[in-house]
């Protein structure tokens, strides 16, 4: 579904790219973990496939269409959903409104459907009493689950997450990864998770490690 071709990126020095000539393929219904030491360029890579930045070299294709062709804003709106380590949510809204807002912006199939958003949140363990509470008064784990619920509500087939469990304890981490697995397998989406926790990576269908400017497949 998603394919990179000769992908390369550097910040200042062209002679010292973070990664170079990357050719990878990510499939629907599968989850991928990207491991690597700090500062190797995992987040940078994720920002490229999330359409938040343009590659210096090579190209990214979604179903054989170049991101340039699709247009980055368009791509972000319809094709990719992102979960950050923190600050995922609109802090002046309830979980419910966060989902409804995202669905409205991305013009999702269920846009405006409160009942649907409610069911998704309930499914992820956000009880009715939390639905209309300001998200700032939710725990870190609950907030992260709302962010995941948001990706489930939107129609994007690609879900990318950057250290989504970085701020969570063991139980919440396990819960969150289970949800990502459900997104991949039940919703038949393509999930790409950047993490530095081997336990998290091990639960994904595929694992890659970014080292020496290359992605090495571990499984």
């Amino acid at each position: 579904m998603l394919r990179t071709e000769g992908l390369g990126y550097w910040y200042q020095d062209k002679e010292q790219p973070l990664f170079q000539d990357i050719n990878l393929e990510f499939e629907e219904g599968q989850s991928y973990a990207i491991l690597g030491h700090s500062g190797t360029g995992k987040t940078t890579f994720l920002s490229l496939i999330a359409g938040l930045d343009k590659p210096r070299e090579g190209d990214i294709f979604l179903n054989d269409r170049s991101l340039k062709q699709i247009g980055l804003t368009n791509y972000r709106r319809h094709d990719v959903a992102i979960v950050f380590q923190a600050y995922n949510l609109f802090n002046y809204m309830s979980p419910l409104n966060n989902l409804l807002t995202a669905m409205a912006i991305t013009n999702a199939r269920h846009a405006g459907d409160r009942g649907y958003a409610q069911r998704v949140l309930n499914d992820l363990g956000i009880g009715d009493e939390l639905l209309t509470r300001n998200v700032q008064r939710l725990s870190g784990g609950q907030q992260q689950r709302v962010a995941i619920a948001r990706t489930m509500c939107c129609d994007a087939k690609l879900v990318v997450a950057d250290e989504p469990t970085g701020n969570l304890d063991e139980d919440n981490t396990k819960e969150v990864i289970d949800q990502f697995q459900r997104i991949a397998h039940d919703q038949q989406k393509c999930v790409i998770i950047v993490t530095h926790e081997p336990d998290v990576a091990a639960r994904c269908d595929h694992q890659y490690r970014l080292e020496n400017k290359q992605f090495v497949q571990l499984d």
Binding site: T43, T44, L46, S47, A50, L52, D53, T73, N74, Y75, R76, R77, H78, I82, F84, Y87, N88, L89, F90, N91, Y92, M93, N97, T101, A102, A104, I105, T106, N134, D162
Partner: protein, 488 residues
């Protein structure tokens, strides 16, 4: 229009911040409104002054030209013994009629003055002497000059058109004033004191004796009695003993008394100008119609004084409006810039969801708009108060600076009554006018009221301030890279 809902949720959820923004915006808008109110009040006051203060234009002999002619004739003539004579050409009424046709002339009054001697009556003498009793000694018969009589005859087109009557220095108390229809008649209007001293009333006749030519006597008919202000010194002729000895008649009667060669002439003609603002243009047009022997002079001092003072108020108000608007825009822009920095994660998430940047700017704009609408309501109430304070301050300041330059007797409002000791009246009507230069021009109070137009204009300013400050601040939104949010 999802950004609309987001804006509302944000303003509602962050009440503290919203209230703070409302307070800041209210303060800014209040000062803008105060400036707008003062400005529109000044414009209105100037408009009122235009119609009320009035202005006149006077056609008379050109003294300067006559004086020059006299000098040149005296230097050319070798005989030093004969003193050169200053000859002032009487104004021709045909000229006056042509000038009266100019568009800015409302009406005109012909003045022709002369003197005569009392024949069938006693003149009033100034009460410092013997003639206290109405029995009447030979008071006042001081003048035995052949050319000057003891009775001043003011020939006019209509008394209602003379400044003495328009300024309320003189008032008709019985009968009627001289009207245009009195031309060619011997009708006169006499002063109250003269009437009571001689037991004269409306309908009576009295006899005067001409001072020139055959010195014949002439019967005149009293059609009205007027009361002159005691302070009035306008009508004082060179030999006149008391203002009460001034009688008003049609200018044709004065001309007849002066002699046949004065027919169709006048000492001067005063034109009432419709729009004082165009007085000097009218004067220019009028000068083209007459020969250099005559001169036109305008008296719009009263209007000019008010206009100058209101112009300065208006200028100041304009400066307030623009300074506050610019300062307000900068202040709001700075606040919005800080707000945007604080909200960069939210903006990053919106961008990552694929929201268009202009819709993010629109959300911020909508939020500010909601704040401004509330602030407008608050400012509408508060601006009237601030405007009143500033307005009275400004008027009192500009009045003191303008008084020195004014020398006028007419007042807008026109209801000023002489007497009572104090000149100032509410509503800006003048006190007793006098021809001395010490007359104070009292400016009309600025009437500060919030009108729908003011509020609409304030709304426009509010909208512009909001729009500009968001535009200035939105550079931050438009430049923000969603990736920065991700990596930090």
């Amino acid at each position: 229009m999802n950004f609309f809902k987001r804006a509302w949720l944000n303003v509602w959820a962050k009440k503290g911040r919203s209230v703070l923004l409302i307070l800041v915006s209210s303060a800014i808008l209040m000062f803008v409104l105060a400036g707008l109110l003062i400005r529109s009040a000044a414009v209105k006051a100037t408009e009122t002054a235009k119609t009320d203060a009035g202005a006149t234009m006077t056609l008379s002999a050109n003294r300067q030209a006559a004086f020059k002619k006299m000098q040149s004739s005296s230097s050319s003539s070798s005989s030093k013994s004969s003193r050169p004579k200053l000859t002032l050409t009487p104004v021709k009424l045909s000229d006056a009629k042509r000038i009266a046709k100019l568009s800015n002339i409302k009406s005109y009054n012909v003045t022709s003055s002369t003197t005569a001697n009392a024949k069938s009556y006693e003149t009033v003498s100034t009460s410092t002497g013997m003639s206290d009793s109405s029995g009447g000694g030979p008071g006042g018969m001081k003048s035995t000059s052949s050319s000057s009589g003891d009775t001043q005859i003011n020939g006019v087109t209509a008394t209602a058109l003379t400044t003495d009557f328009t300024d309320n220095q003189s008032k008709i108390t019985k009968g009627r004033g001289i009207k245009a229809s009195d031309q060619g008649t011997n009708n006169v209007v006499i002063e109250k004191d003269l009437a009571s001293q001689n037991n004269l009333t409306v309908g009576d006749t009295m006899t005067i004796k001409e001072t020139t030519g055959s010195k014949s006597t002439r019967k005149v008919k009293v059609v009205g009695i007027y009361k002159a202000s005691s302070t009035s010194s306008v009508s004082a002729g060179p030999m006149s003993t008391d203002p009460a000895n001034t009688i008003y008649a049609s200018y044709t009667l004065a001309n007849t008394i002066k002699g046949s060669k004065y027919t169709g002439t006048a000492d001067s003609v005063t034109f009432n100008v419709t729009n004082p603002a165009k007085a000097s243009a009218t004067k220019k047009a009028g000068n083209k119609l007459i020969s250099s022997k005559y001169a036109l002079s305008t008296d719009d001092a009263s209007y000019q004084a008010i206009k100058a003072s209101m112009d300065s108020v208006e200028g100041f108000a304009n400066k307030i409006v623009w300074l506050v608007a610019i300062a307000g825009t900068i202040i709001l822009a700075l606040i919005v810039i800080l707000m945007i920095r604080e909200r960069r994660f939210e903006i990053g998430v919106l961008l990552s969801l694929g929201e268009a940047r202009w819709k993010i700017v629109a959300q911020f704009f909508t939020e500010m708009l909601m704040v401004i609408v509330v602030a407008l309501a608050i400012a509408g109430v508060g601006g009237q108060f601030v405007g009143n304070q500033l307005g009275s301050q400004l008027v009192s300041q500009s009045t003191t600076t303008q008084t020195s330059s004014s020398r006028t007797s007419g007042q807008p409002g026109g209801s000023g009554q002489p007497g009572g000791g104090s000149g100032g009246m509410r509503g800006g009507a003048g006190g007793p006018g006098s021809t001395t230069n010490s007359t104070k021009t009292k400016n009309p109070d600025l009437e500060i009221t919030v009108s729908a137009v003011d509020l609409a204009e304030l709304g426009g300013f509010g909208l512009a301030i909001t729009f500009l400050s968001i535009m200035i601040a939105s550079g931050g939104i438009l430049r923000l890279e969603p990736k920065k949010v991700l990596i930090s």
